[in-house]
């Protein structure tokens, strides 16, 4: 006879689930609307999704006050963990998603936006990503990872081009492999410590101590987990899918993929590698170091030779991911603060760049390259304002002061210096110099070449798109004023979470 399990509802602390529940109910709501009346315009769904994201954001923002007074909140059988990292990551992800979903309101009509399911999937994905960051339980992380990934694959395929099917299939197979790696790595850690919660694992390992056999197991687990994250984040040498998938997706979705899901993976990586590095196994640090340096350098070199702007931005986002992975390697509070600061600034710069690509997107079926560099030739002559905007985002991505990403780079490099990684700091600096070449290349095409053909750069523009781009541009320029409060807020959240 089983004993009755008595759990008071209050102890569940169900409000830790509110943000995700809002997103999920938003998705279900959209599906219900479609059941009742089909054929509604995409703008309606976009706004519904936006409203639910706003509610979601509100629920997350609510936790800032709670976190600052009582510290990290656990809930739902202690699998949920709302600490500073979770809150920060959710804020950045939701704000970025709100801006990216607006990119659906284009002048031209695209296949995927005809389906309300697209927007439902979008919200499911956000919920999955939120679960990923708001937990230190590897099983819940896995569930969140899979929810978000499985929602993302069809979204790519819904673009209804041959390239998109290829991209979705490629992403799916790679994602499945990564999920397998993740599960295997987590399994080894569970076998070693008897827990799936990172905090408990660390305590258990600290209690038993590490001998040679457990060290080998930890290294194997790290290899698998690192490979899983490297797939998700597109780190070299597990990056090969990234440019293809970006090229196959719409610019709007590619931009989204380069920012939001990666941040969720970074947060899990911070939690996990903080623990793994604290075991004191030297090989873990060496592996991470190698991956960081390889990612930054190789992707930069590949980006140099790209002929398609979207592929180039794909490689560039790999390189940025490598940069930020360096923060995970360094692992100090300074570095983790830099990670969030960098990613928040990067989100706006990349949003702007991809939105500009999206604005120039022509509706042509099955062309090999949608965004060749030549497309931007002489843009300053034909649409000067758009050219200036694009140049602004490129300079920002290149880290030219005083535009947004410079401050992130500055802080990240300084975290490498204070963490004792001077060589890494130099490698980062030199990589920024290499990266400048391919960003400047677009500027060269736009400002120094003659226009070819009759390109309409604003073929896809709408007031909403222009507003999004304007917001991103404003942020890129005025970031110098935003950096100080942002940095203090992030530092407080990260420090109080104990990272």
């Amino acid at each position: 006879m089983l004993e009755a399990v008595n759990i008071s509802f209050a102890s569940l602390n169900i409000q830790t689930l509110y943000p995700m529940l809002i997103a999920i109910s938003g998705a279900l709501f959209i599906l219900c609307i479609d059941l009742i009346k089909s054929g509604l315009n995409k703008s309606m769904y976009v706004m519904i999704a936006l409203l639910f994201l706003a509610l979601d954001l509100g629920a997350v923002l609510d936790f800032i006050g709670v976190f600052e007074t009582t510290g990290a909140v656990r809930g739902f059988f202690d699998v949920m963990l709302m600490d500073g990292l979770a809150i920060l990551a959710q804020i950045i992800m939701i704000v970025a998603s709100m801006l990216f979903i607006l990119l659906a309101l284009t002048k031209q009509r695209f296949n995927e936006y005809r389906y309300p399911e697209y927007f439902a999937l979008f919200l499911f994905m956000i919920a999955g990503l939120q679960f990923m960051v708001a937990s230190d339980n590897l099983i819940l992380v896995f569930v969140g990872l899979e929810t978000s990934s499985l929602a993302l694959y069809p979204m790519i395929a819904m673009h209804n081009r041959r390239n998109s099917f290829e991209a979705a299939a490629k992403y799916f197979t790679m994602g499945a492999l990564a999920a397998g790696f993740f599960a295997f790595g987590a399994m080894i850690l569970y076998a070693l410590t008897g827990s799936v919660e990172i905090g408990v694992m660390a305590a258990s390992l600290a209690a038993t101590g590490i001998d040679t056999s457990s060290m080998i197991f930890i290294i194997i687990a790290t290899v698998f987990l690192l490979a899983a994250f490297a797939f998700k984040l597109g780190l070299v040498p597990f990056h090969t899918w990234t440019p293809d998938v970006y090229q196959g997706s719409t610019a709007a979705l590619a931009g989204f993929m380069s920012i939001v899901p990666k941040l969720a993976a970074f947060v899990v990586a911070i939690r996990l590698f903080e623990f793994l590095m604290s075991t004191g196994v030297l090989w873990i640090e060496i592996m991470l170091y190698a991956i960081v340096v390889l990612t930054m350098t190789m992707s930069n070199i590949w980006a140099l030779v790209q002929k398609d702007v979207k592929r180039m931005l794909g490689y560039s986002s790999i390189s940025h991911a490598g940069f930020v992975m360096a923060a995970v390697l360094i692992g100090t509070t300074h570095a983790n603060t830099a990670l969030f600061l960098y990613w928040a600034l990067f989100a706006f710069a990349n949003l702007g760049a991809f939105a500009m690509l999206w604005m120039t997107h022509e509706k042509v079926h099955d062309r090999v390259s949608d965004d060749a560099f030549e497309k931007f030739s002489g843009m300053i002559k034909t649409s000067p304002f758009a050219a200036v905007m694009m140049a602004l985002f490129m300079l920002s991505l290149a880290g030219i002061p005083p535009f947004a990403l410079f401050w992130g780079k500055l802080y990240l490099i300084s975290s490498a210096v204070t963490g004792g990684y001077i060589v890494l700091a130099l490698i980062m600096a030199l990589n920024s110099a290499v990266a400048a070449y391919y960003y400047v290349k677009i500027i060269v095409y736009m400002f120094m070449k003659e226009p070819v053909g009759t390109n309409d750069y604003t073929v896809n523009s709408s007031t909403v798109l222009k507003t999004v781009i304007g917001t991103a541009a404003l942020f890129a320029i005025a970031s110098v004023l935003a950096v100080s409060p942002l940095m203090e807020f992030v530092a407080r959240m990260v420090y109080n979470s104990g990272y």
Binding site: L410, V417, Y437, V444, F447, M448, K449, V483
Partner: protein
């Protein structure tokens, strides 16, 4: 208003440039000239309001930007930066006034105004990050200037320029962050402020590494041998105005950086690196002078001669004594005026013939007498004829380096003679002899606009050559106070190396020994401070 004059001076061109988008294309030249003129007058007012008897920083502005990380908006000028700022605004003003470009004049002038903002910003910044922001930002307008209005290989030249400088300065950025980190280790607080950094006495091994990091950034900008390869391309492809600004102002950022940062922050490392830096500077002087002699293109002659003279500036700076450093700062101003004028003069002939090859000319002195006269004066100023502006700077720089080593001064002095050879040879090829080409027979002489642009520069070149005191005195005072005195204080702590102690003398002691009447006092001072004479 006088409290914020530096902010006004920095951001006035930017605001004017942004507002300029609304100005009609046809009236844009006048708008540009007006804005640059106002900016120049503002900088003259700065000089008027400047307290000549004070060697420290003046017009200091301070506002925290990122307090947690020690970044602040801190501005201030002393005698070193004051005249470079005035020279920048003057050269920009004259450059815009004498603009002959017809394509996209509006975009060009707006670019020039943004560039002017970054130039004034670099020289007025007293916070390393602010300095770096303006330093890097100056690359973008210059990239556009060369890339959009340049010659056939303009894209290659502009990207080469951009990447070279960007790489060097990123290494410098790591150095700056490390310097701030060391400051944080010492005091518990982050700071990027120059005045705060000046207080830090660093151990020798840190000094060496940091000096190397800063050196890379500055040396590429100067450009020192072997990092000079971007410059001939940039000059060769850039439009006239681009070359003028590049040679007159942008290169000075590098030498200014040495004086403002490398010397006072890393005095022992500066002394340690004297042999290396001086040898590089000598190679730069001699080698580029020889290269200049071999050029067919008159603009390249001017470009290489400009690099060669930058070497003399480095030579003076690393003499690490009052004559050398003051002389090199003065030479920066002289070089700005003279090389700016020479590039303008090359532009004049290029506008008429659309070629810069010297064998296309010959006998121009009889066709264009006024042009030949002005060119002659400027060329003499360039080779350092006494009573012209460069003579003062070159003489002082060489005097300074002579006190360090006679050999250095000898080689450097010889190079100046080589400089005279190639300049005179080029002058002879272009201006003397018979008019060989028919196209040259009816070339119009300099017109009124060109004359208005060139005459002021000529007057300055002669005026400051004859009577450099009003400029040299404030420079002298600030070099003593903000460079040499800081170095002297630092090398005389326990961390200072004996070599540095032997070389760097008390900047205030020399003056006292001269004015003191009693022989005992003089002897005492000489023994106490190990002046080079005493050795």
């Amino acid at each position: 208003m006088i409290d914020h004059i530096l902010s006004i001076l920095i951001f006035f061109p930017l605001v004017a440039g942004v507002l300029g988008f609304m100005v009609n294309k046809d009236s844009f030249r006048a708008y540009g000239i007006a804005v640059a003129g106002i900016e120049f007058l503002l900088s003259l007012w700065l000089w008027y309001a400047f307290d000549n008897s004070n060697g420290g920083f003046q017009f200091v502005e301070m506002a925290a930007l990122v307090p947690a990380f020690g970044i602040s908006y801190q501005l201030g000028i002393d005698g070193i930066s004051l005249f470079i700022i005035i020279m920048s605004t003057l050269v920009t003003f004259i450059g815009i006034a004498s603009l002959t470009e017809t394509r996209n004049v509006k975009n060009m002038i707006i670019t020039l105004l943004v560039l002017e903002m970054t130039m004034v910003g670099v020289f007025a910044a007293m916070d390393a990050i602010l300095f770096y922001v303006f330093w890097e930002l100056s690359l973008v307008p210059m990239l556009y200037l060369i890339g959009a209005w340049g010659g056939p290989k303009r894209v290659y030249a502009s990207i080469k320029f951009f990447l070279y400088t960007f790489t060097g300065s990123l290494v410098m950025l790591v150095g700056m962050i490390f310097m701030a980190y060391l400051y944080q280790q010492a005091t518990g607080q982050w700071s990027f402020s120059f005045t705060e950094w000046y207080r830090v006495v660093l151990p020798m091994n840190y000094q060496l590494w940091l000096f190397a990091a800063f050196f890379l950034g500055f040396a590429i900008k100067v450009p020192m041998f072997p990092f000079h390869t971007w410059l001939p391309y940039a000059h060769g492809q850039a439009p006239t105005i681009g070359s003028v600004i590049l040679a007159a102002v942008l290169l000075k950022m590098g030498t200014y950086g040495f004086v403002r940062l490398s010397l006072p922050l890393f005095p022992d490392a500066s002394v340690f690196f004297i042999p290396l830096v001086v040898v590089l500077a000598l190679i730069m002087i001699v080698y580029t002078a020889m290269v200049a002699y071999a050029q067919e293109d008159i603009k390249q002659v001017v470009a290489y001669s400009s690099v060669s003279h930058m070497g003399v500036i480095i030579l003076g700076t690393f003499a690490l004594n009052i004559e050398g450093v003051s002389g090199s700062v003065f030479l920066m101003i002289g070089h700005g005026i003279v090389s700016g004028a020479l590039f303008l003069l090359v532009g004049v002939i290029y506008d008429r013939r659309h070629t810069k090859m010297m064998n296309e000319f010959g006998g121009l002195a009889s066709v264009m007498p006024r042009y030949a006269t002005i060119f002659g004066i400027m060329m003499m100023a360039s080779v350092g004829l006494p009573l012209t502006i460069n003579f003062v700077g070159e003489f002082l720089s060489l005097l300074g380096i002579y006190k360090v080593s006679m050999m250095y001064a000898l080689v450097g002095g010889l190079a100046i003679i080589v400089g005279a050879i190639y300049m005179l040879a080029a002058y002879k090829k272009v201006f003397f002899g018979n008019v060989t080409k028919r196209e040259n027979e009816n070339l119009p002489d300099v017109n009124r606009t060109e004359l208005y642009a060139l005459i002021p520069l000529t007057i300055i070149a002669i005026w400051l050559g004859v009577y450099p005191k009003p400029v040299l005195d404030p420079i002298d005072r600030s070099v003593r106070e903000n460079v040499l005195n800081i170095m002297y204080q630092k090398v005389n702590t326990e961390m200072g190396t004996p070599e540095a102690r032997a070389l760097i003398s008390d900047p205030y002691a020399i003056k006292e020994t001269i004015t003191a009447a009693a022989p005992e006092a003089k002897k005492h001072a000489a023994v106490a401070h190990h002046t080079p004479e005493a050795r």
